[in-house]
């Protein structure tokens, strides 16, 4: 199965720019640890992943009555914003959940990717 791992919010960790340099270093090491843990786990493959710009840089497209409406800002009007994502191939929900423990303590949404095959 393929999982979309959405770093959905800063959670208890707080926003990146308010972290001390030591904390930022730790977060970077945790991202590295997640990569390594995925690589080490049999049946798991990191398909992709990126960090995203701040939600204020986002553009939202909505189609209403056939008309494309373009608005400034993120889709969800949430105070916490999406920080990045991974696309990971993993055998099951328990495996990917376990791997996510090595990520920084962000709020994370796991969404199965639709299998078009």
């Amino acid at each position: 199965m393929k999982y979309f791992v959405l770093l959905a919010g800063d959670g208890e960790l707080g926003p990146w720019d308010r972290l001390t340099p030591e904390q930022q270093q730790e977060v970077l090491e945790q991202f590295g640890a997640f990569d390594a843990a995925c690589e080490a786990k049999p049946g798991v493959e990191m398909v992709g992943g990126e960090a995203l710009e701040d939600g204020s840089m986002a553009t939202t497209l909505r189609t209403r009555s056939g008309e494309l409406i373009i608005t400034d800002g993120p889709y969800a009007e949430a105070t916490e914003q999406i920080g990045g994502f991974y696309l990971v191939e993993a055998p099951d929900l328990d495996t990917i959940t376990e791997l996510c423990r090595s990520l920084p303590a962000y709020d994370i949404e796991l969404r199965p990717v639709v299998d078009m095959g």
């Binding site: 999982y3 055998p91 929900l93 328990d94 495996t95």
Partner: protein, 409 residues
């Protein structure tokens, strides 16, 4: 002949549904298809056994029929070019080989149903439906929602399991240990479904309750060091030991009026030993222990008059502090009434209507306490209210009889 066949079908459904389904699911990894096929196999049994005769091995016949239906379903899907995702299996999963030892498969199914990625209400409902085979209508009643709502909840939970990749795992590993509270709650609710008065003339379904006791016993054998599981097993043994005394002459018999010679002493002793030996704890384990100690107090009394009601009222008080449950307070009211008199009991249950708006038992308890306190008007109004809310025929008979005996005011 046909009545006998119907009986065998009903009994096989109650005793073997979960075992057959878990085996089918383990083999085919298709939750939906396995459930539909097993339901259809039971429907075919109902159509054929009354005329063709009951097969020598009813469970085996149902399994073979259901398996054939699953394979037919898979072929039909392949013809239509439709590929339905399979249930994911955990790394440690071993496919079941035979029909001899089905215990662990059933537990794997419980574990699947109790996964934290499912909503709490969905977990219990799904476990009841899949492991015990409780009809959706009765599960809906248990959770106080409409049949359509419950059916949708169960369907969504099954879809989520497959789509999100919640794995079918072998039961003994770290994941089970961390999920024990949910598993225990699920089994307890499964038990309650058989123990609580149901709809229609089938007052108590002790066979169904027995399935849950069996699951608890199995869990206890596998994880003897868990206090939750031990408390659950003890509590269920104690409650289930009274099954033969609960119904008499087609009527519901309250605990104090039960013929105690019909209580199963060996089970009461085994259950008491399990709960009395437990250390005080917290959370759900403590809840189970306190409930078990209450049941053990009842078991200890040779006659209803010898019941130590002050001790029971104290235990309910601790349980109420722990859970904040309105149902527990209702039970404490009953215990306090026995210990200190009906007026003290009425005081305890004052103001509960807000928390238990659709609960006929609150009105039935209030009616009984008011009757004993000589408050005939309150008793009459409460019996009438209880009757308006109660769906169970036998309980309604009991309530109507009480109301009639008050005389016309």
């Amino acid at each position: 002949m046909s009545i006998w066949a119907d009986q065998v079908i009903a009994e096989t459904y109650r005793s073997d549904w979960g075992r057959l389904l878990s085996l089918l699911v383990g083999r085919t990894r298709r939750l939906d298809l396995a459930e539909d096929s097993l339901s259809e196999a039971f429907a075919r049994a109902s159509a054929r056994w009354p005329t063709d005769g009951v097969p020598a091995n009813p469970g085996g016949w149902l399994y073979t029929t259901a398996m054939r239906l699953v394979l037919g379903g898979l072929r039909a899907e392949a013809m239509r070019g439709r590929k339905t995702p399979l249930l994911v299996v955990g790394r440690n999963w071993v496919e079941p080989v035979g029909a001899d030892d089905l215990g662990d498969e059933r537990l794997a199914l419980v574990l699947l149903c109790c996964h934290p990625a499912l909503g709490p209400e969905a977990r219990c409902a799904l476990a009841l439906r899949l492991v015990i085979g409780t009809p959706t209508e009765e599960i809906a009643r248990l959770f106080l929602v409409s049949r359509a709502t419950m059916a949708a909840r169960i369907t969504r939970a099954k879809k989520k399991i497959v789509t999100a990749g919640i794995p079918l795992s072998s039961p003994i590993d770290d994941e089970l240990r961390t999920r024990l509270v949910d598993v225990c709650r699920t089994i307890y609710l499964a038990y309650t479904a058989g123990y609580a008065p149901g709809s229609g003339p089938d007052l108590l379904r002790s066979d169904l309750a027995g399935e849950a006791v069996e699951l608890a016993a199995l869990l206890h054998r596998l994880i003897p060091e868990s206090n939750e599981v031990r408390g659950l097993h003890g509590l269920l043994l104690l409650q289930h030991a009274r099954r033969d005394a609960r119904v008499y002459n087609g009527g519901l018999v309250t605990l104090t009026e039960q013929d105690r010679s019909r209580w199963r002493q060996d089970e009461l002793q085994a259950g008491s030993q399990l709960v009395i030996g437990l250390p005080a704890g917290d959370g759900y384990a403590e809840e189970l222990r306190l409930q078990g100690l209450i049941a053990a107090e009842h078991a200890k009394a040779a006659t209803a008059a010898e019941t130590d009601w002050p001790a029971i009222a104290t235990l309910y008080g601790r349980l109420e502090v722990l859970t904040g449950s309105a149902v527990v307070r209702l039970n404490r009211g009953v215990a306090v009434a026995e210990a200190e008199g009906p007026r003290s009991g009425l005081a305890v249950i004052t103001g509960l209507d807000r928390f238990l708006p659709d609960n006929h038992r609150l009105h039935a308890v209030r009616a009984d306490l008011a009757r004993r306190a000589g408050e005939t008007e309150l008793a009459r109004a409460s019996y009438t209210q209880a009757l308006a809310m109660c769906a169970n025929e036998m309980e309604r008979g009991h309530l109507q009889h009480r109301l009639d005996s008050l005389g016309s005011g």
